[in-house]
């Protein structure tokens, strides 16, 4: 394995919480740390930046130790969740701040900054103070400011979380392009699976301070390994025992598309679940009786929460809901085709 890029083991002890993860990122690669609030994602990012001291472990960047250096001596660029643009400096001077700290002459630092602002499409906002910038503009200035120090490691903390839905879409695709042009390692922290899928080459899912799953976005989306990930990617997930083309999940025996023996995960989409008032004819093989725990809007559909031998979400159309005349507390039949399920080793 080459020494290039980021190689790190991060251990941070906090009262009531320990972060302990390994994190390796190749040059040019974008890795997303995905996880619920309080999982330790931001702590990991701050440890990489040197803003939170490591209790143990090490950080190596391009073969050189990083954890022995003060934050200001690390070749990093960081974009904070609320950007933290210096309120008393113009957009241009915010971007020029890093080069100035590196000893670049004022005029040249400003030229560098102007070029970067142009690259993020904000050449005409150079003189604006941060409070005069929109959220999307501030995000791009923050990105330009981080890029201006020519970092070897880019750290982004929830870079899109503060944006409204429309701006977010546009900034996300721009950010993807800029990160694509960046040749150093990038670590991105987010709790939004969509941001992670679009921006990252690889996902690392962190829960309670530990890595619970990692892999390519498509792989993680198809084969979640924890309830948290399953919820993120919108799948019903069960842990069971595989026996050929069947898996025993609790009291229920689910027929699966894949052949599998031993501990297994079974996943299927809420849209694959069909609901019936009465026991259906032809008896599909995965059929169980369930109680309705709750009903809520879910996009254009309706999401029905089912309890019973397994708890599951079923997404049906509003028309189907009206036809079935469902209400919480009622008993109904639920089924899912074997071909719609997905089983993989636990």
């Amino acid at each position: 394995m080459s020494l290039d890029g980021l190689r790190s083991a991060l251990v941070v002890h906090r009262p009531a919480f320990t972060l302990d993860i390994t994190l390796d990122v190749a040059p040019g690669e974008v890795v997303a740390l995905l996880g619920p609030n309080g999982a330790g994602k931001t702590t990991a990012l701050r440890a990489l930046a040197g803003l939170t001291p490591l209790s143990g472990g090490h950080i190596t960047l391009d073969g050189r130790p990083l954890h022995t250096l003060a934050p200001e001596r690390r070749p990093i660029g960081m974009v904070f969740q609320d950007y933290l643009l210096f309120p008393h400096l113009s957009a241009l001077d915010n971007v020029a701040f890093g080069p100035r700290c590196q000893g670049v002459a004022k005029a040249e630092a400003r030229r560098t900054a102007a070029a970067l602002l142009e690259r993020v499409g904000l050449a005409d906002r150079a003189a604006a103070k941060p409070r005069e910038l929109s959220g999307g503009q501030a995000q791009r200035v923050a990105l330009a400011r981080a890029l201006a120090v020519r970092p070897r490691l880019m750290l982004l903390d929830e870079p899109l979380a503060a944006l409204d839905a429309h701006t977010r879409l546009e900034i996300r695709s721009q950010l993807r392009r800029h990160l694509g042009d960046f040749d150093g390692a990038t670590v991105l922290v987010t709790h939004d699976p969509l941001d992670a899928m679009v921006l990252a080459d690889r996902l690392i899912v962190v829960e309670a301070g530990a890595v619970v799953q990692q892999g390519a976005p498509a792989e993680v989306a198809r084969r979640p390994r924890t309830d948290y990930v399953a919820r993120l990617v919108g799948l019903n997930l069960y842990r069971g025992l595989g026996d050929g083309a069947r898996a025993k999940v609790g009291e229920l025996l689910l027929h699966t598309a894949e052949q599998l023996d031993g501990p297994a995960f079974v996943a299927f989409s809420p849209t694959a679940v069909a609901l019936y008032r009465t026991r259906p004819d032809g008896s599909p093989r995965n059929l169980w009786q369930a109680g309705i725990d709750g009903i809520e809007r879910h996009g254009d559909n309706v999401r029905v929460h089912l309890d019973g031998p397994i708890s599951a979400f079923a997404d049906i159309t509003p028309a189907a809901l009206a036809d079935l005349d469902l209400s919480p507390g009622e008993r109904i039949w639920a089924s899912v085709k074997a071909t719609e399920t997905h089983a993989y080793p636990a």
Binding site: P71, E72, I76, G77, L84, F86, C101, R145, A148
Partner: protein, 279 residues
């Protein structure tokens, strides 16, 4: 759930509004009006008793101008000293963990509660010609502080510095430290962070502190007369001149007081609009 909660709180808000617009409690209003009168009447008295007919003539007297010039000069110099020493001190107290920090913070406020005359005595004991540091200053550099204009500045700075330190330390504690972290990730040393990020962010606090400090220095009496004496032209500032004039020439005391009042109010009001009230 949430909508019923909302309507509950708005209902409570409306009820609170009715209460406030009801009868005012005289138990509060009476002392409040008395307090206001107590603060304003003496100032009004100054205006009423001022010798308006001879005012211009008295204002042009050389002793008057001298005292005024000396007061402004010394208060400004004392404020500069307080800013140069007090801002770093406030930074140290707010940003650096060191043993005895709580004690240091308590000691900084001592001149606030110390009677100024006692402060002046203490300064004499340390910086006087026979004082601990004063002896050394005189033998090594030939500098004597007591009973000189520099002594006035020292006495005023001693008394006024806590105002600046407390104001700036409060501003530093209130400032978002993550801006400093952002600056560090951009390669800024701690000195650069202070100079280019922290100081601009807390500038309103520094200015407010400097104004308080200047006002306190301008009115300083006790420590000044104890440590620096009362020599016309070198250490007789306006407050000293007022006190002195009261014994011999009460009308002059009124004029001097009026001038002091006017200068304070004009400068404070001007700075307030510019800095202290602006967000």
């Amino acid at each position: 759930m949430s909508s019923s909660y909302d309507s509950d709180t708005s209902g409570a808000g409306a009820a609170a509004g009715r209460e406030v617009s009801g009868r005012l409690p005289w138990m509060l209003v009476l002392p409040a009006v008395a307090g206001l009168a107590f603060l304003v009447l003496p100032l009004a008295g100054l205006l009423v008793r001022a010798p308006w007919s001879t005012l211009l003539q008295r204002l042009a007297e050389p002793q008057m101008l001298e005292a005024l010039r000396l007061s402004l000069l010394c208060a400004t110099a004392a404020t500069v000293v307080c800013v140069l020493l007090g801002v770093p001190l406030a930074w140290l107290l707010a940003r650096v963990e060191f043993p005895g920090r709580r004690l240091a913070r308590a000691l900084v406020t001592v001149p606030l509660v110390l009677p100024p005359v006692v402060g002046g005595v203490a300064l004499l004991l340390v910086l006087g010609r026979r004082g601990l540091a004063g002896q050394w200053l005189e033998s090594a550099f030939g500098i004597t502080l007591p009973f000189t204009t520099v002594g006035v500045v020292v006495a005023e700075a001693f008394v006024a510095m806590p105002f600046l330190v407390i104001s700036v330390e409060g501003a530093l504690r209130g400032a978002d430290r993550r801006f400093e972290e952002a600056a560090a990730t951009l390669g800024a040393s701690r000195w650069t962070v202070f100079r280019r990020v922290t100081l601009p962010l807390v500038m309103p606090g520094v200015v407010a502190g400097a104004v308080l400090c200047w006002a306190r220095a301008l009115g300083e009496f006790g420590a000044t007369i104890t440590f620096a004496g009362n020599f016309p032209g070198t250490t007789r500032t306006m407050p000293l001149a007022v006190y002195l004039a009261l014994e011999t020439e009460p009308e002059a005391a009124v004029v001097l007081s009026l001038v002091l009042l006017t200068v304070s109010v004009v400068i404070l009001a001007g700075l307030r609009d510019r800095w202290v009230n602006s967000p």
